[in-house]
């Protein structure tokens, strides 16, 4: 029941309202139970960890700068009814390819960064189109399929960059290729375009370093998304997300719209990964992209999003809470259990756990709403038959 309305929240149009709604305090609490819970956990975590607030703030700021964009790339497929897009891994790969090439060509600073983005976009578009077509063949099983697609693509990625670089692709660059001459190094340092975006404009507030450049890009994306949902395409995305059958009877090309959603998401993820990595400074060639799917999805869910509804606001807040938990949990684990590793495992557990719980709630809720629908229909029928007697 709540899905549709939630979709609107972050994207509401000022005047005239597209959907009028009244909010009650209880309803507000119920809707925001997940972020509220995580807020409590974060506060507890901060208190227990006993870490310096300034350290936490600095860490948080830089983590937000690198994660926000990626998390936001998940929203479009959710509104288009494709569920949580585990296949943003594909976009991340495209972004990495762009960066690797830029590093190989030794392109410095912003030039390198822009080249990386420009290179990764066509790859991401191609990957997005194929992902969209695959998901169109797996209706009703989009999420598991997008997840398997991510794993599968990862296999191909490994094949290309472990075995084909240096053999099929004659790349001879000791900075990125292993000493044997075949395969990329496990970690590649982004010597040339490290922090290119972050350093564009940095300001210090209360001794905390703020990479304004990265945040500016995120803000631009937020406005871009808002604007997208005011266009015809945005309306179609939302319509397809609610009911493919109705959308197709209304003449909307459902398959195409879903592919567009996947392409947009994949391209955004590619850009997001470039931003992420320039902030990290190194590429974990065979790992960086694998993590982001789970982390980004968990972040979005922590913000209160679900499989069928997600807003920009939820993405922003969720990332904040999740990353905060990430920062404090090792120290909290150390304090509480005398073992920092507990905290590390705990945050991994939270990442997977929140996804499992969100999926559970989604399927559980769907069943009960079906039941209530049929009950209502029966009551209606009864009222009618007794009325006509």
């Amino acid at each position: 029941m709540k899905e549709g309305v939630q979709v609107k929240e972050g994207l509401r149009v000022k005047e005239p309202l597209r959907v009028k709604e009244q909010l009650h305090v209880k309803e507000l609490l119920r809707r925001n139970a997940v972020p509220a819970l995580f807020l409590c956990m974060c506060v507890l975590g901060v208190l227990i960890s006993g870490q310096n607030i300034r350290y936490i703030a600095q860490e948080l700021i830089s983590r937000l700068a690198r994660n926000w964009f990626l998390v936001l790339s998940l929203i479009i497929p959710v509104t288009a009814g494709l569920g949580l897009n585990f296949a943003i891994v594909l976009g991340a790969m495209a972004g990495q390819v762009g960066l690797i090439v830029a590093t190989h060509c030794k392109l410095p600073g912003l030039v390198g960064l822009i080249t990386a983005v420009v290179l990764s976009i066509p790859i991401a578009i191609l990957l997005g189109i194929s992902a969209g077509h695959v998901l169109n063949k797996a209706r009703g099983r989009e999420m598991i399929t997008s997840m398997m697609l991510g794993f599968f693509a990862n296999g191909l990625y490994l094949l290309v960059f472990l075995f084909m670089v240096g053999t099929v692709f004659p790349i001879d660059n000791p900075e990125i290729v292993l000493d044997t001459g075949v395969g990329l190094r496990g970690t590649i340092e982004l010597k040339y375009c490290k922090y290119a975006l972050d350093n564009l404009l940095r300001i210090k507030v209360l001794g905390i370093n703020i990479p304004v450049g990265s945040f500016a890009v995120v803000i631009a994306l937020c406005f871009g998304m808002r604007w997208l949902y005011k266009t015809k395409l945005g309306q179609e995305l939302r319509a397809v997300g609610q009911d493919m059958g109705v959308a197709s009877v209304a003449g909307i090309n459902v398959d195409r719209t879903r592919v567009i959603a996947m392409v947009l998401s994949t391209v955004l993820a590619a850009i997001g990964q470039v931003i992420f990595l320039q902030n990290m400074g190194t590429i974990n060639t065979f790992n960086s992209h694998q993590q982001i799917g789970t982390v980004a999805i968990a972040s979005l869910l922590v913000g209160g999003a679900s499989v069928t509804s997600a807003t920009v606001g939820q993405g922003l807040i969720g990332t904040l809470l999740f990353q905060l938990l990430f920062i404090v949990s090792p120290a909290a684990g150390q304090r509480l259990m005398g073992n920092a590793q507990i905290g590390e495992f705990f945050r991994v557990f939270i990442g997977y756990g929140i996804i499992a719980v969100a999926l559970l709630i989604h399927s559980w809720g769907r069943k009960s709403s079906l039941e209530s629908a049929s009950r209502q229909a029966m009551m209606k029928e009864e009222a009618k038959t007794t009325g006509s007697m």
Partner: protein, 531 residues
């Protein structure tokens, strides 16, 4: 050519594979006319509508023959878009609305008024901004035309079903050049007051010159609103009459009656003296679309009891409720033993066996072999066809006896197949139904509940299935409760026929009661003779 005709359907025929569903249908509709199309389920109403609306299902299955003329011109409708462009509006039985969208967004779905911006000039019209003001204004206009005061910016979610129906209509009349609006069972989900509001809105629409094609099997409404009534049965137009010349009983009779030789094989009164094998008291069943609402019914031992009635009045609900397939309440006594409801195990143990109307959904394991379909239900519920594994205390299915039994059944029922191991998915409808019958026989019923045994099967199979049921009744004394929408079939088989109306037994008639009496009873006419 008189361009007063909004729609002319000329000699339209359509078959799905070998199965003809429409046969030379003719239908004409004037400007401002309300034309009711009535008929039972499977009469071909929805196929005709799909043709008018250019649904892909028609063209994927080989198109149709005949012509459709719109406003005096022959037209080719190849897709729903063509239909919309040609000025045909359709109000679907299931609402084609998005619950998370506001009224205006729904009314204007995929027809949103847009404004170009700098980006759309580069990237294409998909990126034009939606003009919300115009969207709201247009919607308000459409809503006002059918006099409904709902706020155009409210979300659809939580709105009463009645409003949704009006919003569907508003969406259709908002389309420019609408000349014909087709409504499929528009009142099926409405309350009494909502229905009457809808009907008056339709009258207004017709008054403004739009043709209204109104599909229904609720005859009271049809008589309240329609100018002309066309009865469709088995894909053929039985008659088209102006309302003032028509009578409810006649129409009901025409909807269900079939002219076949009235071969009555059951002797009148042969079971009058028998005790009741089933006593049903105050049975209510929650079967969507076929609600049963307080049925009292006695079934005599050894009889064939028919249950008839128009679609949607609950005749299918009884058997599904008794077998525990749909949630039900009330008391049911079988041989003076109460059967707990909502427990299919208990119903089976009491000797009830069900031949479902949903052959492919409930009756069969489509990807399994014929022999498994026939035998497995008995293995599970009757412990038949099992053998011990050596000295071990476990028993497994006995493939040999299953095979033998399947062979017997195949020859008894004349199932056309390549052998007992063929998968039932590839069998024709008739042969699939025979497999279902074989399964039911194998379960050794005391009471056999049969629902729509001949729906969608060919004539030969029909005869075979019915004669086997009759033989079971005559030779083994199995009591049969047969539910069917084919009155003729009921009359040729049954000792008594109960007619359902609005979820209740409206009357119990003798099979040789006149057609008109059946028609009267099905249409809910009071004072029922015959029982």
């Amino acid at each position: 050519m008189d361009d007063n005709w909004v729609l002319q359907v000329k000699d339209v025929s359509k078959a799905y594979g070998d199965n003809p569903v429409l046969n030379k249908v003719n239908l004409s509709l004037k400007r401002g006319e309300i034309h009711a199309l009535v008929g039972e389920n499977g009469a071909g109403k929805s196929t005709l509508m799909n043709i008018l609306f250019g649904m892909p299902v028609i063209h994927e299955t080989g198109g149709f023959t005949g012509e459709v003329w719109l406003k005096g011109r022959k037209s080719e409708i190849k897709s729903p878009k063509d239909a919309m462009d040609a000025g045909i509006g359709m109000v679907h039985q299931e609402f084609m609305l998005l619950p998370g969208f506001s009224v205006a967004e729904n009314v204007k779905l995929n027809r949103e008024p847009t404004k170009p911006n700098w980006f759309s000039k580069v990237a294409g019209p998909k990126f034009e901004t939606i003009n919300l003001h115009k969207m709201g204004y247009d919607t308000r206009q459409a809503l006002d035309r059918i006099e409904i005061g709902v706020d155009e910016w409210l979300p659809l979610m939580g709105m009463p079903v009645g409003h949704r129906q009006f919003i569907e209509i508003a969406r259709e009349i908002d389309k420019t050049d609408l000349s014909l609006i087709v409504l499929d069972e528009p009142t099926a989900v409405l309350t009494e007051t909502e229905s009457s509001r809808l009907l008056s809105a339709l009258n207004k629409l017709a008054g403004s010159g739009i043709g209204v094609l109104f599909i229904s099997h609720r005859l009271d409404e049809v008589f309240e609103i329609a100018d002309t009534i066309t009865v469709l049965r088995d894909g053929e137009v039985i008659c088209t009459v102006p309302k003032h010349e028509a009578r409810v009983e006649n129409i009901a009779e025409m909807m269900v009656g079939r002219k076949i030789s009235n071969s009555k094989a059951t002797q009148p009164g042969r079971t009058t003296g028998n005790g009741n094998i089933l006593e049903i008291r105050n049975l209510s069943v929650d079967m969507p679309g076929e609600y049963v609402n307080g049925v009292d019914l006695n079934v005599r031992k050894g009889e064939i009891l028919g249950i008839g009635g128009l679609a949607g009045h609950g005749k299918l609900g009884i058997a599904n409720g008794l077998m525990g397939l749909c949630h039900s309440a009330g008391t049911v006594m079988c041989d003076s033993q109460e059967i707990p409801l909502n427990d299919s195990r208990a119903a089976l143990d009491a000797g009830l066996v069900f031949l479902s109307e949903d052959r492919r959904g409930v009756g069969l394991l489509l990807d399994e072999s014929i022999e498994d379909n026939i035998a497995l239900a008995s293995v599970v519920s009757r412990n038949k066809f099992v053998k011990k594994v050596g000295p071990l205390p476990i028993s497994v299915e006995d493939g040999k006896s299953i095979r033998e039994h399947a062979r017997e059944m195949i020859s008894l029922l004349d199932i056309k197949c390549t052998g007992p191991q063929q998968s039932v998915r590839r069998l024709s409808g008739g042969n699939q139904q025979k497999v279902c019958v074989a399964k039911a026989i194998t379960m050794e019923p005391e009471v056999l509940l049969v629902s729509e045994p001949t729906r969608g099967i060919d004539v030969g199979a029909k005869e075979r299935v019915l004669s086997v049921i009759k033989r079971l009744n005559a030779e083994k004394g199995i009591t049969v409760v047969m539910t069917s929408s084919e009155l003729a079939e009921l009359r040729s088989m049954c000792d008594r026929i109960a007619i359902m109306y609005n979820g209740k037994i409206h009357g119990i008639l003798s099979p040789d009661a006149p057609d008109a009496e059946f028609g009267f009873c099905m249409a809910g006419g009071g004072g029922v003779p015959g029982d």
